[in-house]
């Protein structure tokens, strides 16, 4: 029963550093807000929640590449994402938002972490060297998070789009496979930005990436069977 709480020391250190960095960033944000405590600037804490959720996601995807897969790994990664839930809750309460809203960034982070870990597992299984695993993971993360934003920028420029919010009708849904876009859009619509797409982007993101990670996991299992038969 207690077995599922046991993690390797490396993973625990990873979680600890994740929480530590998050706490430092949050302290810095609040320090900044309290220092510049002027009543004219509206919605500073709201912006903080938006940027912080993006930061959390990027930090999450950087650190998760170092993760070591163990038994009950699904649960351990859930704990990894849950470890920064207090920070999110604090920001939500400062913004006077519903506590349920905090679940959305958690879900996005969990799914995204699972995708990265599945790809890592697959490559481990294929016997790639540690260097190649890290290289390919970083290229993958960069492609999905950064390059897709650059593509989006070109699209925006050449189609002469007029965009009022992140969840805008004119943005093709493909771009919401980018976790940063989905996370930022969810946070922004929670903060009161107009949302023209409803839960569509979140749904597409979840379905796509869950099916990808499931597919990879099935491939690994299937592959192991083939390997053992040989």
């Amino acid at each position: 029963m207690n077995n599922f709480l046991e993690m390797s020391k490396k993973n625990r250190e990873l979680i600890f550093s994740y929480v530590l960095i998050n706490t430092i960033v949050l302290l810095g944000c609040f320090f900044m807000i309290i220092l510049t405590d002027n009543s004219y600037e509206e919605d500073l804490t709201g912006k903080m929640y938006l940027y912080y959720s993006i930061f959390q996601l990027i930090l999450n995807s950087i650190l998760i590449t170092l993760w070591e897969w163990e038994k009950k790994g699904f649960f351990h990664i859930a704990m990894f994402t849950l470890s920064s839930f207090p920070h999110t809750i604090l920001l939500l309460s400062v913004n006077n938002m519903s506590g349920l809203y905090g679940l959305f960034p958690l879900i996005i982070q969990y799914i995204w972490a699972m995708v990265i870990i599945s790809i890592k597992n697959m490559m481990m299984y294929k016997g790639k060297s540690d260097f190649h695993i890290q290289l390919i993971l970083k290229i993958f993360i960069c492609t999905v998070i950064i390059f897709s934003l650059i593509f989006f920028y070109y699209y925006y420029e050449y189609r002469n789009l007029v965009i009022v919010s992140i969840f805008d009708r004119r943005i093709p849904l493909v771009f919401f496979l980018n976790p940063v876009m989905t996370s930022a859009g969810t946070a922004a619509s929670q903060l009161g930005q107009p949302n023209y797409l409803g839960y569509k982007p979140l749904g597409i993101f979840c379905i796509f990436w869950i099916s990808i990670s499931f597919g990879i996991n099935i491939l690994i299992k299937h592959g192991r069977l083939c390997y053992e038969k040989k």
Binding site: L5, M7, T23, L27, S39, E42, P86, N96
Partner: protein, 391 residues
Amino acid sequence: MCMFFKGNSFLKPSYNLVYIFLSLLIVYLIFLIIGLGEKRGKIFGISIGAFSLIFLIAFFRENIYGSNVGKVEIKEYGEGVFSTGVAYVKGTKENSEFQLNDGFLDGYGEDNIHVMPLNQKVLALKKEVYHIFFQNRDEKESYVQKLSIDENSIVSGEIQNILPYDLDNSFIIIGDTVINIGTLNGKQKLDIKYRLDENLKNTGDFNYLDKVSTAVKLDDEEKQLFEQYYYAGANPKNCYLIGFSTIKDKDEKTYTMNVFQIDFEEKEHLNIPFGVICPVKNYTKYSEDEYIREYTLEEGEELLLYYPVPVRADIESLNLRAKIDYGSLKIEALNQKDKKWEELSSQLFQSDRVKNFTENGPLTIKITGKGRIMLPQISLRGKLKSGENNE
């Protein structure tokens, strides 16, 4: 009334609770450090779960955010209570409804808001901050405080904070004198014995406000409210006790400047110090700038000042004090007996002639010429006519 920016800051979270949450985060980190050791994986896992739960419970238990209604008001306690102010209402979701419990409500013509004065409700259609003007009037009781002034200009008596909560930065203004009191606790009584030293003598509007706020050490918000009250010029008698209070309710936070009118106890002798009687101004030119204690006259302009003098007073001496900042001005007083203007001189208000100026109406002063003047202030000494009390 965009001056009341204090209300906006009320809609922000209270940072004390944020500090508590942040220190909880550091405790969380310490637990994680403990969990890092060999064979302590359980502590690590449990602390993650436990702290997430603690934060979630604290989130639902403690309302960091507090209220969505912040009010800033000026409340006058005289013959009744009259309050006027601005309520800052923040819509947290679409179509959020607020109960304000104020008599008169006005939405300033803002869009996306429905003001329902009959059931004292406001319906905010969007997630925005709205400003709603409100006024209340309650004339059931008299809250006027009594002090007395003796022949040597010493104010004595007892003032009381009739409210159940503390008044911060309270002060008394009697004419040209400001008396700093500091914090008055709820229901606290305070004996006062103070010689009127006229520390606001011959000041214009700017200097007056500046001197008061440095003497009492008013902060920006308090100073703004006081300025608002000062320029409204609502009080015909420059004699009041002011204190600031903050009430934090579950539903709303209210920041109030409480003004208690002070009256003088009627004794046999009468002593009204400089600055207490505010003149009523009558000028020929329309002026955009508002002046209370000073005036700038242009060529050919005429300023008439009326000083209401107590009806039952038997005035023995009248002193008049004015300061001409620059220019050449002619100051005349109306002799009501002979119906003619007499130029001001040191012998004008001699004891036997005072009645000519005050008996058949208010003391009337006319200022002509070109220049800037700190308006004349008068002080009265005399006796109260005893007996009949008919007006």
